[in-house]
């Protein structure tokens, strides 16, 4: 298992009225087994000095949680203005300089630096071409690398964080991996949401149940995309990161909130994680972890955990980097269920089972030998609402709706 868990910081991190106390923020990130936290400092051609104090505080907190920051630079606007491009690279370089001054080159070289925010999306890119993006990337990445010094291995710089709804999203990934100076690439990044349409719009199903089931069926895309990118990168030492994921990307909370933040969101995210594990991805970053007052946050505007957060925490704490993993349902699949079994080299062993149905369902665990020897069950959703409950586990695993279950023996969990 080589998946790094992560999350994005939402768009409201500068808003003093939003979010969590500093200590709660650090605890929430740490508890979710977070290795990467992606932050958008807002460099679009201006100096980072304007918000440096707040940003430095945020980066301090992220590091105290044990996670590495991923600094997300978008692309300059307008992209075809040489002066804007120069200012953008200068601003990115200044942020690296400030970071090195504050935390030291060694620490900062362990961070991740992403360049480009869905540059393939005609909705937001202003006509940006791949060729122009490549030039911006190489200029900016070179500026960052110079400041990070000669760390061992590849610099932790990457892109292009493609919008996964675009039909030719893979073109950008392939061209990035093939056409950019190889020494400037540490990771390849892509974003993927399950849907952007509200039910009944743009040929989406009208029936709410069909819409939900269909949305859940698309978690297989995390496997196929991770696998497609993995095949392109295998043997090159470049990481394969899903930099944004969630069930629904509609900006209206009334439409997408219930898909991202309720028990449905927990089940979707759990299934997506299992498919990313299956596809061999090196990292995932939920959109969004905190500081998102809209329909995406795993923590709500008051910092309270949603079922999606609880599912993330449960999985990340028990399916860990370096574990040996297997997928018990692959040889004997069952509709509406997926799962992963993880164990370390000593004695810790746990299984995650995701229920992808809105109704009640039971599993006779004896049918899957890898699932049959656990004594305890911890459940998110599945009839519990937001609560997380631990019970003794018998031979049957019962869900009352969407849910994520951890099967374990108590020790080390």
């Amino acid at each position: 298992m080589h998946l790094r868990y992560g999350l994005n910081i939402g768009d409201h991190w500068r808003d003093p009225a939003s979010g969590l106390s500093r200590d709660d923020f650090i605890a929430r990130i740490r508890d979710a087994g977070t290795a990467l936290v992606r932050v958008f400092p807002g460099i679009t051609g201006k100096s980072p000095a304007e918000h440096w104090k707040e940003l430095a505080g945020l980066l301090d907190a992220i590091q105290q949680s044990g996670a590495a920051p991923m600094i997300a630079f978008p692309t300059p606007q307008p992209w075809n203005d040489a002066e804007a491009v120069r200012m953008f690279s200068t601003g990115c370089g200044e942020l690296v300089d400030r970071s090195v001054d504050r935390w030291g080159q060694r620490a900062v070289a362990s961070w991740f630096w992403s360049i480009g925010d869905e540059p393939n999306s005609p909705w937001t890119n202003g006509g940006l071409t791949f060729e122009a993006y490549r030039d911006i990337y190489q200029t900016t990445a070179e500026a960052i690398r110079q400041r990070l010094g000669s760390a061992e291995g590849r610099p932790r710089i990457g892109g292009p964080c493609v919008d996964g709804f675009q039909p030719f999203w893979f073109d950008w990934i392939w061209r990035f991996a093939e056409e950019v100076d190889d020494s400037l690439i540490g990771f390849v990044a892509w974003n993927r949401y399950g849907d952007w349409r509200e039910p009944a719009a743009w040929s989406a199903p009208t029936d709410p149940e069909v819409f939900e089931r269909l949305l859940l069926s698309r978690t297989g895309e995390y496997w196929s995309r991770a696998e497609a990118v993995r095949a392109l990168l295998e043997g090159r030492g470049i990481l394969n990161l899903c930099t944004e994921l969630n069930a629904h990307s509609h900006t209206d909370p009334a439409i997408s909130g219930r898909f991202n933040q309720g028990p449905f969101g927990a089940a979707y995210y759990g299934a997506a994680l299992i498919d990313l594990l299956r596809g061999g991805a090196d990292g995932e970053l939920l959109w969004a972890g905190a500081y998102d007052n809209g329909p995406y946050g795993a923590l709500d505007s008051l910092g309270r955990p949603t079922p999606t957060y609880e599912a993330k925490k449960l999985i990340a704490q028990n399916v860990r980097f370096g574990d040996v993993i297997s997928f018990p349902f692959d040889p004997d699949p069952l509709p509406d269920f997926d799962g992963v079994v993880a164990s370390d080299e000593v004695s810790r062993r746990a299984a995650v089972v995701v229920h992808l149905g809105r109704g009640a369902a039971e599993l006779e665990l004896g049918r899957w030998p890898d699932l049959s020897a656990f004594s305890q069950l911890t459940l998110v959703g599945g009839g519990n609402g937001v609560r997380v409950r631990t019970d003794a586990l018998q031979h049957r695993l019962a869900f009352d709706g969407y849910g994520v279950a951890l099967l374990h023996d108590g020790a080390g969990v």
Binding site: T129, F130, F170, W174, S203, L214, S224, A231, P333, L334
Partner: protein
């Protein structure tokens, strides 16, 4: 070391196939039809996809003799007809129009049973619609309308075949989705989850790697880069096949890729550059290996016979393209029922892909594709040790002008000039020497 000569063997269950569509007249009634059939027989074509209402197909009412000849041509090849009922030009949400279309389809099935016998026709494939998820091709039908058409047509087919089915489901399927659309897999899921499964025998999906020419609509401008990008996406055939297979788990339904090729540009001369050249042969060979690896049940290249359409593997005179020859090498040396395995993994598969086949009486072959447009050498020692000690090499690359040429085997390795295909086998038939 390149390859794993101990990768597990498994049975080969892929039915090779072709489409016979816009150029059906040459295939069915043209002066070279016998040669065309012979060429297709050499490809071990077991399934031929055809159209009844669309793609300039003969009118089933006004010109039954032509439709009969079209179907008979497929039977003469030795293939099972796969008849696509698409499409009608009345309002899709008009129940009377749907009923009329379903009855028409049902009458065609019944006519086929009268012509060829129900005991034979019951094993044919009947596909409802073509690319309904693409407004240009499918006519602007939405899924709810499609579902109503599907169920109505499928029931009509079942009714016509009922005397011969012995309670078995008819081989009706859909939705023949167009693979460029972002939510293409939704149509497969909805068919499987919203239609009575007793009316579904197979799922059919389509995939082309590209529809844009170099530099068009944000596509990469350099022709060589575009070729490399298209080749890199041959992996998609396997990924999509597996995605569909996931949806089919627990159901005894066939998983078919009913249309594929490298390029579907709207101008024949443009797509011909990709489909009907050595590049097309290389892409096609890579696709075939992906189909074999994925375990799907059938593939149907778009198309067999082709009169200046920019897709076909045979022209009206039955002259083959390089893709025909690549498919021929695969069909001859990787046969239905063989035991096959895939010896290449990891980064090696960005340069090469291969399938090893073990047939009856000790027949051993390896079918190889070179995915880079630069000279390459592939050692056989770790791929199939029995062939590394000697065998016959058949090579298709630029040096052989895109045709397969048997050569004295250079022990233990395959060398190709650039994009290309090769076979090493211990059993060289007379047809390979021709």
């Amino acid at each position: 070391m390149i390859g794993d000569g101990t990768a597990p063997l498994r049975p080969m269950r892929l039915q090779y196939g072709v489409n016979e569509s816009d150029s059906w007249w040459h295939f069915a009634l043209g002066p070279n039809r016998q040669r065309l059939w012979s060429k297709l027989r050499e490809l071990d074509v077991r399934i031929i996809r055809m159209f009844v209402f669309d793609k300039h197909a003969p009118d089933p009412i006004a010109d039954w003799p032509s439709l009969r000849a079209y179907i008979q041509a497929a039977l003469n090849v030795g293939a099972t007809p796969f008849l696509t009922f698409a499409k009608f030009r009345r309002p899709f949400d008009d129940p009377r129009a749907v009923r009329w279309f379903a009855e028409l389809c049902s009458e065609i099935v019944w006519s086929c049973t009268e012509e060829w016998g129900g005991e034979n026709v019951r094993n044919w494939y009947w596909c409802v619609w073509n690319e309904p998820n693409n407004d240009w091709i499918g006519g602007g039908i939405n899924f709810e309308q499609y579902r109503a058409v599907y169920e109505s047509v499928a029931r009509g087919v079942a009714r016509s075949l009922a005397p011969w089915l012995d309670g078995r489901a008819p081989r009706v399927g859909g939705p023949s989705v167009e693979g460029f659309q972002p939510f293409w897999l939704d149509w497969v899921w909805r068919l499987l989850n919203e239609v009575d499964n007793s009316l579904i025998g197979f799922v059919n999906w389509h995939y082309y790697a590209e529809w844009r020419d170099a530099g068009e609509a944000d596509a990469v401008g350099d022709a060589g880069t575009m070729q490399n990008l298209i080749i890199a996406q041959a992996h998609q055939f396997g990924l999509r096949a597996t995605q569909v297979a996931r949806l089919l788990r627990g159901r005894s339904l066939l998983n078919m890729c009913g249309e594929w090729n490298a390029h579907s540009h709207y101008i024949p001369a443009v797509r011909a550059r990709f489909n009907q050249t050595l590049f097309g042969a290389t892409h096609g060979a890579a696709a075939l290996i992906q189909f074999l690896r994925s375990g799907i049940d059938a593939e149907m290249v778009w198309t067999g016979t082709d009169d200046a359409c920019g897709y076909g593997i045979l022209d009206p005179r039955a002259e083959p393209t390089s893709l025909y020859y690549a498919k021929l090498l695969c069909a001859r040396h990787v046969r239905y029922g063989d035991q096959i395995r895939f010896p290449l993994n990891g980064k090696d598969r960005r340069e090469w892909d291969a399938v090893v086949s073990h047939g009856p009486h000790g027949r051993r072959s390896i079918f190889v594709v070179h995915l880079r447009d630069r000279p390459g050498v592939l050692p056989l020692r770790d791929l199939e040790p029995s062939l590394a000690r000697g065998g016959h090499l058949i090579k298709l690359d630029a040096s052989t002008y895109g045709q397969p040429v048997p050569l004295p085997a250079r022990t233990g390795r395959i060398e190709l000039d650039g994009f290309g295909v090769a076979v090493v086998t211990n059993e060289l038939g007379p047809e390979d020497k021709a």
